[in-house]
Amino acid sequence: MGWNLLMNGLHIRRVVLDKDASSYALTRQILAGLPGVPVHSSGLDPHLFDGEPGKETLHLQHYKGDFLKPCPGTREYICCGYQILNLAANCPLDCSYCILQSYFVNQPSLRVFVNLEEQLPDVLQVIDSQPGRIFRVGTGEFTDSLALDPMTHWSDMLLPQFSRRKNAILELKTKTTRISRVLASGYRDRIILSWSLNGPWISAKEEKGAASIEKRVEAARQCQSEGFILGFHFDPLVPYPGWRDDYARTVELLDRRIDPGRIIWISMGSFRFMPALKPIIRRRHPTSGVLNGEFIIGLDGKMRYFKPIRIELYHVIRHLLEAWHPDLGLYLCMESDEVWRSSMGWSPKTSSGLREYLDQRVVKFFNGTGQPA
């Protein structure tokens, strides 16, 4: 195993290589960084390797779908209109609440799509063909944006391309401190580094493999001091005894380390999940407390907290954040107009209203010129 991978806490025990993935430069680069790690040809059932989702099996694949896709929001709730750049599926971290556990139950290995470089021009062409539209693009929907960066060097490929485009931003969302490559890149414009945050207790108990909240905030501070615009995502919010004090501690930590004027947005979302995830959490994380709340079946078929509980969560954290700074670009992820009004005091009313609000934040921070405001 390459020393850099050990240094970054990645433990790849084996690689599964698809036949049509072997010729790509990204494949060669990843394999070069994994000397001594056995490489198996595809066709082997990844379940054979691990009793648990294959956090230690890296599957290099040629992805045949579109690399750029809209976030799969539902019409019942207000969606931010994010675009997902689909680089990989699954994540080396092991958060108890992670929806990927049910999404990829039949393909449990860490899957990296090695034809990214070949497909990236198509992605950029989609962006360039609509100069009047702002593309807010993220890579953190189906994997952690930076967890695999020491091995994949995605940031080397993506940052130069997005940094020079006037109608797009790239948001790298992580729970790790694997920032060395982005810091070394020299690209800052139109790049947003974001951290998922939670109360320290939830982080310690439920986010196995992730950096502590303190370390995440410290990594964010470092990136901000090096010129990056930051984002934060309080998602999933989980109520538990003492949650108010715990989330307040996280906000206090932000207050001590982070300049709020250079935060483009902070989102809040409460824990929600497809019903099929429940038995998986019970089996894989028997001591987890994330299922303890009062859940109902939401309008999109997902389990979510009873509405008054969600409103209280958002209301309390909004006030904590607004007491820190009045203009943080706060928004809710997948919530109704009613919940917006009750907890935030205003509402974008529709998904297009929220898209407009976030696009305006992009314009404000990057001024349409590629330079931070």
Binding site: R282, L291, N292, I296, R304, F306, P308, D337, E338
Partner: protein, 320 residues
């Protein structure tokens, strides 16, 4: 296997005492009622002779006809006509198993526990993929490996009580899956309540889900939670029937699991009652209060009646 071979074995009389009582390795019978067969044998005698297998040093084993042998023994019969597969017949165990399977499939429908028995026995001789593609469809099951694993687990790990529930169709598959993740003592406790209150399929799922949740939330074992809830039917309201008791029990558990939701439901019900709505006018909340729209239902005979009802509604105090 040569399909005519068994019929070529001549019939002979074998003493029932020489036949073992154990179901044996080819048996696929579970949860059956022996009485109709006893009655049939009493009336017209044994129609179809069992197929047995003789192994040196052991009691004679039943290949096909386990219930018939059991019925004959309970009738105190001394011997039975049968076809006895001898050692020199050289019939391998898989052929014996298939013989019994086809004998059963041609005369009756196997229950789900029996299907599990068949799949489990086959898995000793047949590759998994072949079981999925050939034998699962033969048993009327969807050919998928996940399903096979579940049946194998049921056969190996489930106790007789839960198998009995399954064989009698008293437990939904989803409930069985939920129970399969639970320890035996907890499972027995849950099954007792399900059985006593005769919970329907949806109630079973809700009940198991709530109790498992409470066990995790309160960090107490399921038997403790059940005993603390005091769900014994003798302690429930005797003036109510079983469905009412089931509903009351579920409401009690729901209140403990989801106090805020139940509180909101009660508050809404009180508010609607306080409106004193005229007969035939109903107001209902969106499911779980998640949506924003309430539903108004008005029963009316004709246009004039509807107008009057709407006028009545407009006069109601407290709607604003």
């Amino acid at each position: 296997m040569n399909p005519y071979r068994v019929s070529e074995i001549p019939l002979q009389e074998v003493a029932l005492d020489d036949i073992g009582d154990a179901p044996g390795p080819f048996c696929m019978s579970f949860g059956f009622d022996l009485e109709p067969l006893i009655s049939s044998i009493k009336t017209v005698g044994l129609i179809n002779p069992p197929i047995l297998r003789s192994d040196p040093g052991q009691k004679i084993a039943v290949v096909a006809g386990y219930r018939r042998i059991k019925a004959l023994k309970s009738l105190n019969a001394v011997s039975t006509p049968c076809r006895l597969i001898e050692r020199h017949d050289d019939m391998p165990p898989l052929e014996c198993l298939l013989l019994n399977l086809h004998d059963n499939l041609s005369t009756r429908r196997l229950n789900d526990v029996e299907k599990g028995m068949v799949l489990s026995r086959l898995s000793a001789f047949v590759p998994r993929q072949e079981i999925v593609t050939q034998y699962m469809p033969l048993l009327g099951l969807s050919p998928n490996e996940k399903g096979l694993l579940f049946f194998l687990e049921m056969e190996t790990h489930f106790d007789v009580k839960i198998k009995t529930f399954v064989s009698e169709g008293r437990l939904s598959w989803r409930a069985v899956k939920m129970l399969s993740d639970i320890d035996a003592a907890s499972r027995a406790g849950l099954l007792r309540v399900i059985s006593e209150l005769m919970l329907n399929i949806n109630q079973q799922l809700q009940f198991i889900d709530y109790i498992v949740d409470l066990s995790f939330i309160e960090k107490n074992p399921i038997p403790w939670i059940l005993s603390e809830l005091d769900l014994d039917r003798n302690h429930l309201d005797k003036n109510t029937n079983r469905p009412q008791q089931a509903k009351a029990v579920l409401n009690r558990i729901k209140t403990r699991r989801n106090p805020s939701i139940v509180k909101a439901e009660k508050k809404f019900s009180r508010a609607v009652i306080n409106l004193n709505l005229p007969d035939g006018i109903l107001i209902s909340a969106p499911p779980f209060f998640e949506g924003e729209h309430y539903r108004l239902e008005i029963l009316f005979r004709e246009g004039e009646d509807l107008k009057n009802r709407l006028q009545e509604l407009l006069r109601i105090q407290g709607l604003d």
